[in-house]
Symmetry: C2
Subunit: 221 residues, 2 copies
């Protein structure tokens, strides 16, 4: 019991410290007029592909930099690097989520005067990253159609703490038994204010709508 | 820095305590001649479907009980309950993995004299459950083909700590760009002693091979 209480106390301290750093990063982003996204999802939902498509569609319209969070390997950072966009790699060496102090350290490698949008790709994990503010404007949760339609009910914190949901891999829908309507219904039951996009990085469906929304949000900033 | 050190120390204490409890559960399982699996994967890889198929294929051959680990909802436990098999639900209320003390408590609800196999379905998370021994004979990692072929490299601990890999949803392979050969190669690069099965819970492919392996292991016990 002593151990569990100790963990709870330290977790609260870590979250408080994280929120404090996130608050200061958010101020820094605002100061430089930088819009920021924190992409969260299960492994393999297509986060990196969404980042690649967003870069391709938007890089002529605004200047983008990417922060790649991975437990191991720089495979994703290399994919982004091929787009000719500044990318900073964070390897967590086993840790299951990114924290604000890692973002604070990594943005030292980004020329903030030359960036309009920073996309943070979190570690693939539908649980642990949900509680950690990274100073972003929007937490964007990505779910692929192949994961089934019950995920918002089973992993509610991530859907509650995100403001945008991207339902990815819609090209596979004809081959699946899960229902995209049911998935949307379940997501909105957890968080009625979610903005929802339906995308395929294979066919390109929905990428335009997503990028238009992004552009409109950035203009309003 | 003080906080991080504190966390490391407490994490070590938790893991030590977990291993101690797991050791005692393992003894209890052996005493009752019960074979145990700990199923781990990302959300939506098909763990519950694999459990359902295993029950359907094997329930005439040996007596099965299931422990369902979920962050929220009893959706999976209800699916298993429909198979007519004893099922115990653990809801973690936000926690990202099962620990041995939860298994110790939940097996009090299972009549150990009337069970040959206990299947533990862990929380959907390819990171955190990897370090927690639950007293099982085999940790079985499930990856669906739709998650891409690079997951063993990006989430190595889970593949290193498992003895069996099930590559699920092989019916979707014709519609994907990822390579099952590459996935196998990457998994074996991380853990050369992995036993690999390729399954589809839609077509039923590979379920027979998986169940035959299970039966052969249980007979040897």
């Amino acid at each position: 019991m002593g151990i569990e209480l100790g963990v709870l106390k330290i977790e609260r301290k870590i979250l408080e410290k994280n929120d404090e750093i996130a608050h200061s990063i958010r101020g820094l982003f605002k100061e430089h007029n930088i819009f920021t996204l924190n992409l969260v999802s299960s492994p393999g939902s297509g986060k990196t592909s969404i980042v690649e498509k967003t870069i391709k569609e938007c890089k002529e319209k605004f200047r983008i930099a990417v922060i790649e969070g991975d437990i191991q390997t720089d495979l994703d950072a290399r994919r982004i690097d091929a787009s000719g966009i500044p990318v900073v790699q964070i390897i967590t060496h086993g840790a299951c989520h990114l924290e604000a102090n890692l973002i604070r350290d990594s943005i030292k490698n980004i020329n903030m005067k030359e960036v309009d949008l920073i996309i943070i790709e979190n570690v693939g994990n539908l649980v642990c990253p949900s509680g950690y503010d990274l100073g972003e404007d929007h937490k964007v949760v990505i779910v692929s159609t192949t994961e089934g339609d019950d995920k918002p009910l089973k992993y509610p914190a991530m859907f509650r703490n995100s403001s945008v949901l991207i339902i990815n891999k819609i090209d596979l829908l004809p081959h699946l038994h899960s229902s995209i309507e049911e998935l949307e219904k379940n997501a909105l039951a957890i968080n009625p204010s979610l903005t929802i996009f339906k995308t395929s990085c294979v066919s390109g469906d929905g990428i335009n709508e997503w990028c238009n929304w992004l552009l409109s949000k950035m203009k309003k900033q």
